[in-house]
Every structure is written in C-alpha cells, then in structure tokens.
C-alpha cells in the first residue's frame, strides 16, 4: 500500500499543495487533470526523483520519503518512452535487471518472456529509434514491469500514440494489470482511459487533489464546479452489451428498471460504459419520425442557460442532459416539468 500524506513541493512552474492519497495493493489508480495540474511532479515525488518540501511517502508502512529511487522498487514510464537510444531493446529491458546483478542468462530469459507478452520479441536486437511509437512504449513498459515493481507509475503512457495504437495498448494495459496484479498509478487527461482502466480515479487541479473515488462517483457526483466543468462528459451510463439482429444494445439499469440504448457495435456480453454528448441529443415536444434508433420520453427537471447553449436535464428513468442552442430552446417552447422526447442516433452512442 502506498500512502502519501500532506506532500507539498514547489518547483516554480509546477507545484504540489498538501497532497494526500492512499493507493491500495493491486489497485489501478488513475490521476486525471488538466495540463499543469502537477500530475507529473506527483509521480516523480512518489518515484523519489526529488525530495518533497514537506509531507511523507510510505510504501507498505515503511517511510520512503527520502529514500533514493533505486531502493524503492517503484518504476516509471513516461509519455515519450525515454528508452535509452544507445542501447538495444533487449539491453533497455534488461537495464534494471543488470543493475540488480542478475546472471546474464537469467536476464535474457526474463527479457524474452516479458517481450513475448508484449509482442515485441522479434524487436529485441533493434535500437529504439527504428521502432514505432507503440513498439517503443511497449518496450518502455516492459522495461519497467520486468523488475516486478511494488508500484508502476505511468505518466500519460498513451498520449503520444495514434488512435488505434492507443486503443490496443490500453487493452494490453488492462490485460497486464489483470495478469500481474501490479499496483499502477496512471496519469492521463483522457476520459476513456479512466473508464476502461481505473479502479479509482483522482482529479488534480493546481497542485491539489480535488476528488478521489470510483470513476462513476467522480463523474456522476462531481464535488466541485471545477470537476463538473472539467469532466464535461455527461450522459454516462454503465451497462451490459448484447447483440440482437446485428445491432448492439446496451442494457442500463435505471431508477425504474432496465433501459435499452442502441449503439454502434460492441462485443457481446461485456460490461461497458456508454456516453452520449449532450450536443448529440435532439429534443422535441412530439415523438420524431426518424431513422434514429433511440427515442426516449422524459420530464424536464432543470434548465441551465450558459449563453450560447442551453443545457436541459431530462429524467427518462435515466438522467439525461441535452444541449440545444438558445434559439432551439425558445422555439421548443418547453419548460421545467414538461414532457419532451429525446432522439439519439445509434452512432452517437459511444462505448468503451
């Protein structure tokens, strides 16, 4: 268990301001926050790169606040890989093992094993500069995980990758965590990573931890205006995916029983999170005759006018938020308590 108590650190440009956190063994802990929130310096303080100005870090009830990084058994992966360019992939992955003075054949064995798991076994003799971004990040993660660290720190590990590679590597990270049960702290500013990976999530802002909880808690019940605004994504529902007649449907438990939401494809019988952007919801007073798969009737519970857009909260059994233009809202002629229909195209329903 990693416990951080009242850590403060001032690096001029970035600060940590009285940060306290507890990460349990085997947890996949995600820290999310805007650029400059102090996420990286928090990870580097946990890794022991700098001493904190005040506060303590303890690992499994041992105070490691001023212990040098090499004695902590905490490894770290950066966004831009930081593979040593003058060493081959095999030498990079074996770097830490060599520091531990393991015999060469044992190092080779462990390197081969971990690289096979990540599908980079055929690249071991190559130099990092000849690898694609995804391959480099796989090598960097291999280098960190082969030491079987007590905590693995990932600093935006997927941010530098293109969309498809990012998705694949995200799935591999989940698999890896399931297989190794390593305690992971993962920094991101990507919400999908929070929902697909996090056991718990912390939101950081201006060097402070604003909220900690399960993704569901934090996204559904933001404890501050900053978080409400920052998470921005609304209409987040968890459910089970099912495929009927070639179309996938997600069953979501609502206040009054199950609701079905049609979506773009997903695999059968998996637990998924669906999101619908408020802008993708059409609001009307009568049921629309349209090809859109999703149509829900509901009652308006709240209306918020923020200038150009009007956000309407509608209870259909599931709490929806729809955004319409001010003009659209005026011509709709609806008010709080009235009944409206929400129409959503299946391809506007995102699943992860």
């Amino acid at each position: 268990m990693l416990t951080i108590e009242h850590i403060s650190k001032d690096l001029g440009e970035f600060i940590l301001d009285d940060v306290s956190l507890t990460v349990k063994d085997g947890e996949y802990f995600v820290i999310i926050g805007p650029t400059g929130a102090g996420k990286t310096i928090l990870l580097e303080t946990i890794a022991g790169i700098y001493p904190p100005d005040s506060g303590t870090v303890s690992l499994n009830e041992r105070d490691v606040t001023f212990m040098p990084p090499r004695e902590r058994n905490i490894t770290m992966v950066y966004q831009d890989y930081m593979l040593f360019p003058h060493l081959t992939v095999a030498e990079n992955i074996g770097f830490g093992l060599k520091n531990r003075k393991l015999p060469a054949d044992e190092i080779a064995g462990k390197v081969a094993e971990i690289s096979d798991i990540f599908g980079i076994g055929h690249l071991l003799h190559r130099y990092p500069s000849t690898l694609s971004g995804g391959e480099q990040q796989r090598a960097a993660i291999s280098r960190a995980i082969v030491l079987e660290p007590s905590v693995l720190l990932l600093d935006e590990p997927l941010s530098a990758l293109d969309g498809q590679t990012r998705e694949r590597l995200r799935i591999e990270l989940r698999r890896l965590h399931a297989a190794y049960k390593t305690t992971i702290i993962h920094i991101t500013h990507n919400f999908e990573e929070v929902f697909s990976l996090a056991s718990r999530v912390a939101v950081m802002h201006q060097g402070k931890i604003m909220q900690v909880g399960t993704p569901d808690e934090v996204f559904r019940h933001p404890n501050s205006e900053f978080i409400a605004e920052f998470v921005g994504v609304q209409n987040i529902f968890q459910g089970t995916c099912k495929i009927t007649d070639g179309l996938s449907e997600v069953t979501v438990k609502g206040a009054d029983g199950p609701h079905l939401i049609c979506s773009s494809l997903c695999t059968e019988n998996t637990n998924v999170t669906t999101t619908i952007r408020p802008e993708d919801i059409m609001v009307s007073c009568t049921k629309l005759a349209s090809t859109a798969r999703n149509s829900f009737a509901g009652t308006i519970t709240d209306v918020a006018d923020n200038g150009s857009m009007v956000r309407i909260s509608v209870d259909t059994g599931l709490p929806f938020i729809a955004a319409v233009t001010r003009q659209g809202w005026c011509s709709l002629g609806a008010e709080i308590g009235g009944t409206v229909y929400l129409t959503v195209m299946a391809q506007s329903v995102h699943i992860f």
């Binding site: 090499r70 902590r72 930081m82 003058h86 770097f95 531990r100 960190a144």
Partner: protein, 265 residues
C-alpha cells in the same frame, strides 16, 4: 529598372558576398600551401626542430584537452542540470576567456604562477609553469576550456533529465545514471567538443607566448615555430609549420561538423 519577381536582388547580392568570402579564404590557403616547393616542405618536416614542434604541440594539446574535459564536463553538467545561487554569473564568467585576448590571459597566468604564494608553492615542489611546456598546457587549457564547456552544456541541456530519472528508478545511483545513460547519449557533443578544443589548443599562441615564452627547442610548438622562423627569415620552415596547422584545422573542422558541433556551440 522594372522590378521582376524572377530577379531577387537581395538573394543574388547576399549569395555573391558569401561566394567572394569563400573564394578569399580558399585563395589564402592555397597561397600558403603552394608557396614553398613540395620538396622544401618535406625537407623542413625532416628537421629536428619541426619534428620537436610537432611532438610538443601534440603532447601539450592532448594533455590540455584532457584537462579541459576533466573540468568542463562536470561544470557543464552542473550548469545544464541544477539551479544554484549565482548560476548565471558563474556561467558568464566561465565563458569569459572566449572574449578575452589570449595575451591578456597569458599575462594573468604569468602573474598567477610567477608572483602569488600559490605559484611559489607549486614552484617549491618542482611544478614550474613559467617558461616551461607546463605553461603551454595551462595556457591552452585556460583559453580553450570555454569551447568544451559551451558544447557540453548545450549537449547536456538537450538531453532530457528524465532519462536519468528512469535510470534511477531502474536501480542506478545518480553517478551511474550519468555514466551509463547521459554520457553515452552525449557522445557526439563530447567528440565535437574534444576535437575543437584540441584543434584550438594546437593553434594556441598568444597566451602560451606570455607564460611559456618562445624558446627554440624548449617551448617551441608549431605556432611558436612559425613565429620564430618567420622572424628570422626561415620562410620554408615557417610555412611548413603553417601547412601542418592548416591541415589539422581543416580535418578538425570536418570532424567537428560531422558530430554536429556548430549546432551545439
């Protein structure tokens, strides 16, 4: 004259200036190289005096380059990695020998080793700098150290400290991280810096003249030899020394550019 988009006078004029300058430099080099007959050059190269000058130049410049590396690398690392009180002042002062006339540097060195208690002490234990080859080494070191320092500083600045952070989490001490990661990554800057420092060292004249003097067969490096032989009308000998210096600088410049030196200076 009507202006025409196809005739860019600024471009034509500025390129011409560059070409004329390059032509002037090449002319000078060719003049030096072709002035004596090749047989006379070879004859001079065979003399004891020129061979001594070559030997003394190589020995002093290699030693002064090693000294520069030894001092400039850690100093450059500290300036690239750490913030400390007075850093920008220290940084400026360390570059000062670049702007200082070598003769002034030489006078300073002469006073330091000739008149201060430190100089007296060193002399009492047999380390004499004034009018000896040791003086040449210290002169080359003092004047050329900024070249190594500047190149290493920008080389280290270009290498993200995160490589070292990662190395530390993988079990390295700070020093091991520098030794096993940062220095190998800095190899190009290191070689470029070493070559230019060495080449400048071989050509060092003013400061060396002040502290070590110009004694035939004692403190006679190639530039000193060039100066001495020129003064007493031995043109062939003087130009042979010049040709060697020229070849060394051409090769060094090539190696320097090959390792990307000009981008780091």
């Amino acid at each position: 004259m009507r202006s025409d988009l196809r005739r860019n006078w600024v471009k034509i004029l500025s390129i011409s200036v560059g070409l004329v300058l390059a032509g002037f430099i090449i002319t000078l080099l060719l003049l030096v190289a072709t002035h004596p007959s090749p047989s006379a050059v070879i004859e001079s190269l065979m003399t004891k005096e020129i061979q001594f000058a070559i030997y003394l130049s190589l020995a002093t410049s290699v030693i002064s380059t090693l000294l520069c590396i030894l001092i400039a690398v850690p100093a450059a690392y500290s300036l690239a990695r750490y913030d400390f009180w007075g850093k920008s002042f220290v940084s400026t002062i360390l570059d000062l020998p670049l702007a200082l006339p070598p003769l002034v540097a030489g006078v300073g060195l002469l006073l330091f080793f000739g008149t201060t208690p430190i100089g007296d002490f060193l002399e009492s234990i047999g380390i004499v700098f004034v009018f000896t080859p040791l003086g040449i080494i210290i002169a080359q070191f003092f004047v050329n150290m900024p070249f190594m320092l500047r190149i290493m500083r920008s080389t280290f600045t270009d290498i993200s400290p995160r490589y070292e952070y990662v190395a530390c989490t993988l079990g390295c001490t700070n020093l091991q991280a520098i030794w096993r990661v940062t220095l190998p990554m800095a190899i190009n800057g290191f070689l470029a810096g070493a070559v230019i420092t060495w080449a400048k060292g071989i050509g060092e004249f003013g400061a060396a003249l002040m502290i070590a003097g110009a004694t035939r067969m004692k403190t006679e490096t190639l530039p000193i030899s060039l100066f001495l032989n020129m003064s007493c009308g031995e043109l062939e000998m003087a130009i042979s020394a010049a040709i060697i210096l020229m070849v060394i600088s051409l090769v060094s410049l090539y190696v320097f550019e090959y390792f990307g030196g000009s981008a780091k200076f």
